[in-house]
Subunit: 118 residues, 2 copies
DNA sequence: TTGTTATATAAAGCAATAGTTATATATTTG
DNA sequence: CAAATATATAACTATTGCTTTATATAACAA
């Protein structure tokens, strides 16, 4: 396998998060379930555009939709969110773990150069 | 102000993370500093393409570059990473905090419907 | 059943993005 | 100084993504 399927999920999820309208939708959903129209209301864009954004968010595993009569209430979804956080956390940990050593080396080199300058 | 400048940063950062090549570069950088050519080597794409990806990552605040002769060693950058994690964490917390209540309500309605069925 | 409401899909336009090749710039090395 | 190395920029193309309007579908209400 060339690309991990998890990685493809990350593709879709991060791409979904790259749009400010979609992040605003997620923020709104943090307060609880909302229907498509409720989600569309604060925005100046058309309802079909919102539907499309929701499809993207659902495809990315960031929300789920249930059926309630003619409504399709949306809610935040768990799994993907945790995976993304875990991935970012891996980077952050690596950063603090691997670069302190490097910083010391670089600082040392700087010091040597300063000495040479004299 | 209509849009928070933080939010624009998130735009750039999440968009940067949406590309698998760029995520692979970040993963590589988790092991420590690397030059442009070192970063380019594992990929089938051209060096200019890598330079462009690095520019995107730098613009997103995810890496920094220093000058070392003709090399431009890249390293992970902190701040943005933590902000993204914090944002995702906000969502995740809201999810567990606000939806348990809702789940109870929904489960309750389900139960009522089951009773009505009789 | 007819009108209305909630949402989805389709078609089309435009802007942004990632890739390419060719070339420029700066640094190192002989 | 000349050749080689490391990286950046430019110009161009192809693809993708967001938006819109128009229309379809499904549920509800009268």
């Amino acid at each position: 396998m060339t690309i991990d399927s998890k990685d493809l999920d990350h593709d879709a999820a991060f791409a979904a998060l790259a749009d400010p309208t979609r992040r605003a939708i997620l923020s709104r959903l943090a307060d609880g379930e909302a229907t498509v129209n409720e989600l569309a209301e604060p925005f100046d864009i058309s309802q079909p555009a919102i539907s499309r954004h929701l499809k993207v968010l659902e495809g990315a595993g960031l929300i789920t939709r249930r059926v309630d009569g003619q409504r399709r209430p949306c809610r935040l979804a768990g799994g993907t969110l945790e995976e993304l956080e875990a991935w970012l956390d891996m980077l952050r940990r690596a950063l603090t773990a691997n670069y302190n050593r490097l910083d010391a080396v670089l600082a040392d080199e700087m010091a040597k150069q300063d000495l040479k300058k004299d």
